[in-house]
């Protein structure tokens, strides 16, 4: 079996992942658009192929068998790999415009100061005529611990090795990183002055001679001050690499709103993407300090090893497309969050990529997609009511609650465990994802004499299938419209969100729903019994 892993990246994180996998005897391909590889490997057991000056063109197939096409000097390269790890570097954008400044000899970006200080180890006379240095950090936009650390380190060296006076102008000083509060104390001891802004902001002026004047009100004493630094250092925003956008698009993996490769979804902790077999690590997925990149590298290697171990088993009960029914409308292709639908001469499901969420089957307008045990017919067999009637109410409503297995089912069980009393007529129907619930599932419940139907999904941004909960809400909204038109009580159908640890909230939700249904009385769609 193919056990090759393809790594995209050319920085410390990619390096560390490669060393980890080679130590475990895995075979590697490392690909980067850069002309040279920036690190060297101590190969001991596995084999490694290095593709520099190479850009990804396409990626087909699924975990265990990705078919990669790349371009190197206008030549096409094809490789088959079992897994892919994205470990691209981030990049920095200087925040000059935020402060109304332009780069000049005395207004420099943070990375330039870091470089100067590296050079300064060789030439201590690098800051002639400089007495005061001001750092601008996160005044108009929130900063982060990675940038704050670099600023504090620079200020500390200027202050203690070069005897300069340094000022850090900041709003919230970001010390939530390893050792940063201790560093903050050290800088203060060395004489670094912190000027913090909460309700006010400094006024920053560039004079005609190029000098900078910063006027501000000290918020504690409410006195006015003027600072005239010889060098003003402007902080930076950390953004994904330019290549990240191409990679995420071609590989079909989700990004967060800032373009880092990994959706902002807890189910992707730590290095996972929406696509099985494609991992993302280090600064390609999140703003990260150097130490944490090493941690990510370990996780990427682990995920890769576990992927290989798991590929031996053939996944069962995945989605299947009935070719006689399929009209190639490509709804499934567009809707599948895991990129498990492949277009060949016909539309097929990649079993190793399918997570069995059921979204494709629920969304298919032809009903051409089948997943064993998720069909409305087999699910409706579970829709039987209990036999303990309510004594305190006119009738005991039969309530069907479609519950996502990851959230609402767990919350319901926790609810019982916590001692909450649930409605006696409540029937929980477990589904792998609320996105698997189709019109037919909901109609089946009413047909099987439900007085009320609930769809209990994950919170927005917490759906393992990314959009399953949204699709469920749309389905409910459409049926609600239908109910309004035909004059059936729309209150009999509800959709709500829950997480697995919300036992109390589950009990409150179903009890409130039961009370509403008792108020409405039995459903008119109910067959006479």
């Amino acid at each position: 079996m193919n056990n090759k892993t393809l790594i995209f990246g050319n920085g410390p994180c990619a390096h560390c992942i490669a060393e980890n996998l080679l130590a475990a005897g895995k075979d590697l391909v490392i690909a980067t658009p850069d002309k040279t590889l920036h690190f060297s490997l101590s190969v001991d057991s596995g084999s490694v192929e290095i593709l520099t000056d190479t850009r990804l063109v396409s990626c087909r197939g699924s975990a265990g068998n990705f078919r990669i096409l790349a371009a190197q000097n206008n030549q096409e390269i094809a490789r088959r790999v079992a897994g892919v790890i994205i470990a691209e570097e981030d990049q920095r954008k200087s925040n000059f415009s935020q402060y109304g400044l332009k780069a000049s000899s005395n207004v420099i970006p943070l990375f330039r100061m870091t470089e100067l200080l590296l050079d300064a180890s060789r030439d201590p006379g690098i800051f002639p005529e400089v007495k005061k240095v001001a750092f601008l950090n996160g005044i108009f936009q929130e900063s982060n611990p990675v940038i704050a650390e670099e600023i504090m380190q620079s200020a500390l060296r200027l202050q203690s090795d070069f005897n300069l006076k340094t000022y850090i102008l900041t709003n919230n000083l970001k010390v939530a990183g390893n050792g940063l509060e201790a560093l903050h104390r050290e800088t203060k001891k060395a004489g670094v002055v912190y000027i913090k802004f909460t309700d006010t902001r400094p006024e920053i002026h560039s004079e005609s001679d190029g000098s900078i004047q910063i006027e501000f009100i000290d918020e504690i004493t409410s006195k006015k001050f003027r600072l005239t630094p010889d060098i003003t250092v402007v902080d930076e925003t950390v953004v994904p690499s330019n290549y990240a956008a191409d990679l995420s698009r071609i590989l079909g993996v989700d990004t967060d709103p800032d373009g880092f490769i990994q959706a902002d979804n807890v189910h992707r902790f730590t290095v996972f993407t929406n696509r099985k077999g494609i991992m993302t690590a280090g600064p390609s997925r999140i703003i990260q300090a150097r130490d944490d990149q090493i941690v990510d590298a370990g996780n990427a290697a682990l995920a890769s090893a576990l992927l290989m171990a798991g590929l031996a088993a053939v996944p069962e009960n995945r989605a299947e497309i009935d070719k006689g029914q399929c009209i190639r409308c490509l709804t499934c292709y567009r809707r599948c969050p895991y990129r498990a639908i492949t277009l060949n001469t016909r539309v097929v499901v990649e079993p190793h990529a399918c997570e069995r969420c059921g979204i494709c089957a629920a969304q298919c307008p032809r009903g051409a997609i089948h997943i064993k045990d998720l069909e409305p017919a087999s699910i409706s067999k579970q829709m039987t009511t209990g036999d303990t009637p309510r004594e305190d109410a006119a009738f005991t409503p039969f309530l069907v609650a479609f519950c996502c297995s990851r959230s609402a089912v767990q919350a319901g069980e926790l609810s019982l465990c916590m001692g909450h009393k649930l409605p006696p007529g409540l029937k929980v129907i477990e589904v792998p994802c609320s996105g698997s619930i189709s019109f037919n599932h909901i109609f089946a419940a009413f047909k099987r004499n439900a007085d009320g139907v609930m769809v209990l999904t994950c919170h927005e941004g917490n759906c393992h299938s990314e959009q399953g909960n949204t699709f469920a809400k749309q389905t409910v909204a459409q049926i609600t419209d239908m109910f309004l038109q035909i004059g059936f009580e729309k209150e009999r159908l509800a959709v709500q969100t829950l997480a697995s640890n919300m036992g109390t909230e589950f009990a409150e939700m179903v009890s409130r729903f039961e009370a509403n249904i008792i108020e409405l009385g039995p459903s008119r769609l109910k067959k006479n019994q």
Binding site: A24, V266, T270, N299, L302, A305, Q410, S500
Partner: protein
Amino acid sequence: MTDKNVLIIGGGVAGLCASVELANLGIHVELVEKSDFLGGHAIGYACKATRNTCVKCGACMVEEKLKNAVSHPNIKILIGSQVQKISKNGRFTVNIHQKPQYIDSQKCNQCAICSDRCPSDGAILNGFSKNNIPFYGINPEKCLYLKDTSCHICRDECPEKAINLDEKDSKYVSQADAVLVATGFQPFSPVDKPYGYGLFKNVLSTLDLERMLKQTARVKTPSDNKPPERIAFIQCVGSRDSKLNHLWCSKVCCGSALRMARLIKERQPDIDISFFYIDVQTFGKDFEQFYKDVQEAVRMIRAIPGDIYETDSQKLKINFLDNSTHETLEEIFDLLVLSIGITPCKDSRELAGMLDLKLADSGFVSAGTEEASDFENGVFTAGTVEGPMNIPETMAGAGRAAWDIAKYLKPNGF
């Protein structure tokens, strides 16, 4: 499958995650937890989603990891257990003391009858997750039977006959190829700070509030069990404190407190919330937007209050310097929530002694020391035993430790 065995000390987030990863690699794990329940502090955390939208605190992921761990065939779980002695002669020989297991985890069906009928307050403990198996534990300090055999209602009324109050403690010896120390953190005890914790009824810690929200979904003032009108959160209690020599930011408190503040504001909009802080730390990828929203819902005050006094009606009077007017203000709140920091766990000090681990000046274990002694070879650490971490970082640290252990053990097929 291999014959390698790893002993994991600590059943919190790091211990659970590392167990599951190693078990998935086919390595046997013995997971030792000193309390009656797995899941660490985090299993008591509430879901803090607002506007039906996840805020990515990661609490639900702890539930998932716990669920995976308790059902994994490669993981043996020892709750109520503590390591007493570790020696190494090739493999590690670890002597473990296990408290009496009064409730049979196989028989208990979580019916709650024991808890409902017990006449002694606090004698029956309960877990926070349905995957805390058993869901109940018996507190020997409060149980009347264990005191003077005067009561055995729980044993008699248990329909499953799952309770045996005569159970004795036991000893267990583990033979391990590697040891992972994941003993977590000690929540800072605020009793020595001038905030009246433990003295005034209506002063809670963030941990207390997390649990209250998980149990009851609403906040109530402990003195009268009614919703408070005004709540104050105080940040950095036990963190960033040079007097205590706590020269670290606990990283998690701004996220926990502000997410809870917004949740309370959504569910109980009549409550006024003030938030006292030094610097608001970034948490989550959508921090910028969250922070904007929360500043509309919560009154943010960049000051840390001085002493707290209790009024005759059990309200709390606090003094602070108001930056906008430069005056000292005095305000009254119904409930005070202290954002207590992450501090080193005292068990880690003992274990560090047994395992030759190095402690930093802060008291946390220094991770990844350069020159490992022969004894230390095969000893790993993960999670907040190394210093403050949030849930995703802890999960990542555990994954990395699992990988390092796997590299060290090189099981078959690796």
